[in-house]
């Protein structure tokens, strides 16, 4: 497998009303071809901003500041995305890096047929004839599992269901065979059954094309289903990272544990009321982060004098399982006994 994307020490801040907010701090990860990496976290943890940073879609300075490096390893050498002028970045967008997101219902232009939208997506990056692009559109619709693709080209978005529209979005994203697909909660707005179909589809397409996927979600069910590796983010930082199996079965950061306890489970639902644990409190305001570990005010394992003094650094708990917690050893031992 070859590496397609490296993010090193990414920091993203915004300036609003004369105040600076840092919303992503020192995030590093890499993505291999054919691999799926999940970014998990609550709203406001910085996962979507990270993906916008990779797409180069953050507002221009001075409204936002980006530090660190984002490197795209493509066929024609390494490209430093953060140094790239907008005109070249635009050519990469939708071509080498594609993205699908949460709202399939509103992500298609209501006044153009879906055929036109796919054809234009292709022709905005490649010099191909309309007929050729149309043929490719039919092929793509077939690939994403839309029946009668030929007839569907002439339909308008409002004639299709949510699941269908997300399939169209996927078809558009895949039109140019990108190296990287960023999926920002692509199934959140869909029914559970449709959700499973879309995940299946993404998995199958990934196998066929060998693209890397950066999957942003807050749903651990989805993570378990699709991700090879998982990064848990909190207040703009990576707090836990590792192979999905390891992170889910053996979480060492109290935040991950809290998130997993907050997932409703079929076995316990209705049997023991009040069993569903939530994490008290909210994600801290990026302008006023707590001293020490940014999670300590909400943490069940908080130890005074340790967690509220200096920020924890990220440590390797073995086998690439990275944890940002001063007490991960005790937490790990506590589980074993």
């Amino acid at each position: 497998m070859s590496r397609v994307l490296s993010v090193e020490n990414l920091g993203i801040g915004f300036r609003s009303e004369g105040q600076d907010f840092t919303v992503v701090r020192d995030v590093s990860f890499s993505l291999e071809a054919g691999e799926t990496l999940a970014l998990v976290g609550e709203s406001g943890s910085g996962k979507s901003v990270t993906s916008l940073g990779v797409m180069g879609l953050l507002p221009p300075p001075p409204q936002s500041r980006t530090t660190g490096r984002i490197v795209l390893h493509s066929g024609d050498g390494d490209i430093e995305l953060l140094d790239l002028p907008e005109s070249r970045m635009r050519r990469l967008r939708g071509d080498r890096i594609a993205m699908i997101f949460q709202e399939p219902l509103t992500s298609l232009n209501p006044v153009h047929t879906i055929g036109d939208q796919i054809v234009e997506a292709i022709r905005s990056h490649r010099r191909v004839s309309r007929a050729k692009a149309r043929a490719r559109a039919v092929e793509l619709l077939e690939q994403v599992g839309i029946p009668d693709p030929q007839d569907r080209l002439g339909t308008y978005p409002h004639e299709l269901s949510g699941g269908m529209r997300q399939r169209i979005m996927i078809a558009i994203a895949l039109a140019l065979e990108p190296d990287i697909l960023i999926a920002d909660e692509p199934t959140t707005a869909l029914d559970v059954t449709v959700q499973a179909q879309i995940l299946d589809l993404l998995r199958r397409l990934q196998k066929d094309t060998g693209m890397a996927m950066l999957f942003i979600t807050h749903d651990f069910g989805v993570v378990a289903d699709i991700a090879d590796r998982t990064i848990v983010m909190y207040a703009g930082q990576t707090v836990e990272e590792g192979r999905t199996g390891t992170v889910l079965s053996d979480p060492l950061m109290p935040y991950t544990i809290g998130l997993m306890n907050a997932v409703p489970r079929l076995e316990t639902a209705g049997l023991k009321r009040g069993d569903l644990k939530t994490i008290e409190g909210f994600v801290p305001d990026p302008a006023a982060l707590p001293q020490g570990c940014s999670f300590h005010p909400r943490c069940a394992f908080m130890q005074e004098g340790l967690c509220d003094t200096s920020p924890p650094s990220i440590e390797d708990a073995g086998g690439g399982h990275m944890v940002r917690c001063k007490r991960w050893r005790q937490i790990g031992e506590g589980r074993e006994t």
Partner: protein
Amino acid sequence: MLTNTSPPAIAEKDRRWITSRPVRRFVRHRLAITGLVMISLIALLCVVGPWVLPHGMLDIHIRDRFSPPGTETYLLGTDEMGRDLAARLFMAGRVSLMVGIAAMVLSTFLGAVIGLVAGYFGKVIGTVLMRFTDAVLCFPQIFLLLVLAAFLEPNALMITIIIALTSWMEIARIVSAEIRSLRERDFITAARISGASHTWIMFRELLPNTIGPIIVAATLTVARAILIEAYVSFLGYGIQPPLPSWGNMLNNAQQFLDTAPWLAIVPGVAITLAVTSFNFIGDGLRDALDARSDLQ
């Protein structure tokens, strides 16, 4: 062989167009249809009228001057020089309607582009453009027109341009407001994500979504442009005789108001009919195209 033959694709498309919701809503709007019929009739008369009438608009029949409507071959009577009023009315209609429609096209284009750019870019560009729009809007239109008309040679083309230059602001504001809300929609984010340029997003993604409000405003602009042309010509700064327009026919008529009232009534009714018809059509289109009911 009568069963199971699928209709050809074009027929399918046609049927969809006819039964589409906006079209049905428009057809059901009685006033709008009345307006449409009236305008079509007026336009038809203006096109065909001067050919079929027995007298030309410039033929002077001094002995028949001030004939009331219905006299012999003079359908609508004659004026102070014995020229056939019907012939002049229809010829004037050509001029007035043409000026109105051309001014609408020009001002709609101008307003739409300014509104689009202002709404899309926002910030400094948007603020400057919209404040400029507000500033132009602050001038009393009629004085601006008269000042411009006094300096420029008053022919039909100039009048059209002047009217367009003083009536694009409303469309600019409508479009810019519309664009400001549309540009935050997900499909615009999606377009940016797939690498679309600013020009592409503005003209291909955003503009087609504002076509409803633009059509409505444009229709109402025709009505207003016709009225404005009438004012200006009435005041003597517009279309110059002997070329007739509805406005300068009124101007001519005022001195004979007590002796030959039809000279004022006939072009007056024509203006009223045309303007109200366009307004009705505009209202009907507004209801039919109400973007919110169709844009999901």
